[in-house]
């Protein structure tokens, strides 16, 4: 059994070395080592940092909220109507509790947005998922919500630690370590994406591929379809709790004198069609549209339905994947929203405009 013993000892030593290096590099921020650059997007952490720096240089008067589908909305497009500096505070997988927490936190930093642009995904009102782990782990944002913080027992901390090490023992994690090292060695190499000082996102490879015409949109859409089928597969209706978060946000914004425009975000037609065939997406979309019309009447907001391409004259090809619009489409949405804001632009908030687009 000498061979087996030698094998097992070698395995343990190699695994320990690998995990030690993984913990040191910590590409996903699981171990909070913070020595090497993180490659995963933790927009909540990144944007709170960026916002503080941005606000310090001049008061923020405009706010863009939403998920990654709103990350390509250019803040400077809304500067004129907001009367100052605008910050894109959209975060990945944002749901309405994220938006409320962010708005309250922004107010706590002393900012007083006059204009708030909210990109609402249908699944931001998901009735069957918990808070994002990035929100739970961001204590400053999490405190903005009234729900008590989950208690972290010793067992749960141990469990989390074991999970982190287990997740590190994957090829994807090893690849991420390489990426993080690269980001450290080559300062101009920003990884997959970076946020600019005003919260706008720049996708290093994707934007270049779009420019060169070498993007693989069909393949990306196919991948998105699989992911979104899973996402919508568990969604049965619009969550009452999440609707309450959104309505609280709108009430507080109205009370603070802000003008709010809420737009229903879009999925690529292929994604939408696939979801219609295998999930309750069609019904959920109709419920969201109806809900938005109700909000327009009751909450003094401007509501826009941009859930289909033709509603903003969008392009079939200007997409990163099956759910994220690329710059040209984002520009069209931005222009349409701006037009509505300009037509309604006056402080304090006026009565609602007619429904739809």
């Amino acid at each position: 059994m000498k061979f087996l013993k030698s094998f097992l000892v070698s395995l343990c030593v190699l695994a320990a070395i690998y995990l030690g290096v993984g913990r040191l590099i910590d590409p996903r921020g699981n171990f909070k080592t913070d020595i090497f650059p993180r490659i995963t997007m933790d927009a909540r952490a990144d944007k709170t940092r960026l916002f503080s720096a941005y606000q310090a240089k001049g008061s923020v008067t405009g706010l863009i909220l939403g998920s990654s589908r709103s990350m390509k909305m250019k803040p400077q497009d809304f500067a004129a109507v907001a009367g100052g500096r605008v910050f894109n505070f959209s975060v990945n997988s944002a749901r309405t509790e994220d938006m409320l927490a962010i708005y309250r936190w922004v107010r706590l930093q002393g900012a007083r947005p006059r204009v708030i642009v909210v990109g609402l995904d249908v699944e931001a009102l998901h009735d069957n998922v918990k808070f994002s782990s990035q929100l739970e782990n961001h204590s400053a944002l999490r405190k903005m919500l009234k729900e008590p913080l989950p208690k972290k027992s010793r067992l749960s901390r141990l469990k989390k630690s074991v999970t982190s090490y287990k997740d590190a023992l994957t090829a994807d994690f090893a690849r991420d370590m390489g990426t993080s090292l690269r980001m450290r060695i080559a300062p101009n190499w920003h990884g997959v994406a970076r946020f600019e000082h005003d919260g706008y996102i720049y996708y290093r490879d994707k934007d270049r591929a779009l420019q060169d015409g070498t993007d693989e949109l069909d393949m990306e859409i196919s991948k998105s379809i699989a992911e979104y089928k899973q996402r919508f597969g568990e969604m049965k209706s619009l969550s009452v709790k999440r609707r309450a978060y959104l309505e609280t946000l709108l009430d507080e914004a109205h009370r603070d004198g802000a003008q709010v425009i809420v737009w229903l975000t879009c999925l690529h037609p292929r994604t939408a069609e696939a979801l219609r065939q295998s999930t309750r997406y069609a019904q959920l979309l109709e419920q969201s549209r109806s809900y938005l019309r109700d909000l327009q009447q009751s909450k003094h907001i401007i509501a826009c339905d941009f859930s289909e391409l033709q509603f903003f004259a969008g392009s079939l090809s200007d997409w990163y994947d099956g759910s994220h619009i690329a710059p040209r489409n984002a520009g069209l949405v931005g222009a349409a929203l701006l037009a509505k804001l300009k037509a309604d632009s006056r402080l304090p908030v006026r009565r609602a405009m007619p429904a739809k687009h």
Binding site: S10, L11, A171, D218, S222
Partner: protein
């Protein structure tokens, strides 16, 4: 339970291995391997353990009856009876749905009820184990064991229970007899070597090809001609690395317990002719079909026409063995026709340049795998049509360059790299860290991915 899972690697295998080598007597080890085999099988669905138990008991008892009977007629009767029981069980669980759905489609008035019978995992494999045992006992090629746990060890050995290789009792009879021996360092080293290489083939290579081709096959309406070819080549490589990887792991596990499992693959994509392909691919199945079906049918001893009929019949049943679907039947018929052609055209084919003969064989095999992988016949025909340039849609999807390079690298690899059995695994201590590094690499690819072996579905 699959070999590339945390429950197997960190719980089942260490526990069974430790208990096995702590046990000192033959009987203790037989009992342990039997119980572990049933636990391994029952992890999927404990209810079907009874089926495995029943099938094993029948063949064990019948083999003893055959041994204790002097009458040749009685021996034959018992043999046929036991085989019928096994085939009835296999027929019902594997083919009833297929049969009922087919009759339903053709003549609903007389169709049997649709029962949606669950296919027990590994039934095709362990049924062939038990049948080979009964036939070999009846033919006097092997002595029937009187130790029920020795027999159960043979049938339920977890390393080959659910996806082969199809091991005959006589192939491991000697090792079973000496199972109470001490551990051998060379066997442990070989076992680890085979296991690690097999796992790398499966989780690193095969699963990578699967990830690359599955999106193309999920959207056949946008498949280009190049996409169709790359999907077929990708699947050809995926299937080989997946199945041979599994077989290597099974061999490795056998060595860890002092049992030598026979070789199942021998560089099949280097075959010269389809006959040669079947001497290199899934060797345990092809030799089983040869010895227990083709030869009893007459083999090549009854003239050319009968030989060709026997070949076709054997391959048709071989195709059906893989699955209850018309695509598998057609795949079997396709290979049967190729074997007949190969046999008839041998004098001319052997005159071809080696590269051409090998390339032609490979392309013929690739086309056959399309039938194997396609969901149904129309999908298979559509896919083949696209490979030949027919029915290409106007907005056909571009193919990821990585798949193209991957297929090229794969084809070069299968034609140049040694088969696992040809690797001279180091058995000295200094090789242990190398195997450990290999296992760690494989684990990184395996962790977090649930990917059963392709042959589990048979």
């Amino acid at each position: 339970m699959i070999f590339n899972s945390n429950i197997f690697l960190f719980v089942f295998l260490p526990v069974v291995f430790s208990l096995f080598w702590l046990a000192k007597t033959k009987q203790q080890r037989y009992v342990l391997l039997t119980i572990s085999g049933f636990i391994f099988y029952g992890y999927w669905n404990w209810k079907f353990c009874f089926l495995l138990l029943f099938s094993s008991l029948i063949s064990y008892l019948v083999a003893l009856r055959i041994t204790d009977t002097d009458s040749e007629r009685a021996k034959r009767g018992w043999m046929i009876g036991a085989i019928c029981v096994d085939l009835c069980l296999l027929g019902f669980f594997k083919y009833y749905n297929f049969f009922a759905e087919t009759v339903h489609a053709l003549a609903p008035a007389i169709a049997p009820p649709l029962l949606h019978v669950v296919l027990p995992i590994g039934i095709s494999f362990y049924t062939f184990h038990t049948i080979s045992y009964i036939v070999d006992v009846a033919a006097g090629r092997v002595r029937a064991t009187r130790n029920v746990f020795e027999y159960f060890t043979y049938v339920s050995l977890f390393s080959q229970l659910v996806a082969g290789p199809i091991v005959r009792f006589r192939q491991i009879e000697d090792d079973l007899e000496h199972i109470d021996g001490p551990p051998r360092q060379d066997y442990i080293a070989l076992g680890l070597g085979f296991f690690v290489v097999g796992m790398i083939k499966k989780v690193v290579v095969a699963d990578s090809f699967a990830d690359a081709i599955n999106p193309i096959l999920a959207a056949p309406e946008t498949m280009s001609q190049l996409g169709a070819w790359l999907a077929a080549l990708g699947y050809t490589l995926q299937l080989y690395y997946d199945f041979s990887g599994y077989s290597d792991m099974a061999v490795g596990l056998g060595y860890l317990f002092g049992l030598r499992i026979p070789q199942n693959f021998n560089a099949p994509y280097r075959a010269l002719g389809i006959g040669d392909f079947w001497r290199r691919w899934h060797i345990s199945l092809s030799t089983w079909l040869r010895d227990y079906l083709y030869i009893p049918l007459g083999g090549n001893r009854r003239g050319a026409i009968r030989t060709n009929v026997n070949l076709m019949l054997t391959m048709l049943l071989g195709g059906l063995w893989h699955g209850a679907s018309w695509t598998f039947v057609l795949w079997g018929a396709y290979h049967g026709a190729l074997l007949v052609f190969d046999r008839l055209a041998q004098p001319w084919l052997t005159r071809l340049p080696t590269l051409l003969y090998r390339g032609g064989t490979f392309v013929a095999v690739v086309f056959g795998w399309v039938l194997f992988r396609a969901e149904n016949l129309p999908a298979a025909l559509d896919w083949m049509g696209k490979m030949l340039g027919f029915g290409i849609p106007p907005g056909a999807q571009a193919v990821p360059p990585l798949l193209l390079w991957g297929c090229l690298a794969g084809i070069i690899a299968v034609n140049t790299l040694p088969e696992t059995w040809d690797i001279r695994f180091g058995v000295r201590l200094r090789w242990a860290p190398v195997y450990a590094a290999g296992l760690l690499l494989a684990y990184l690819f395996m962790n977090g991915h649930d990917s059963p072996f392709l042959y589990y579905q048979f």
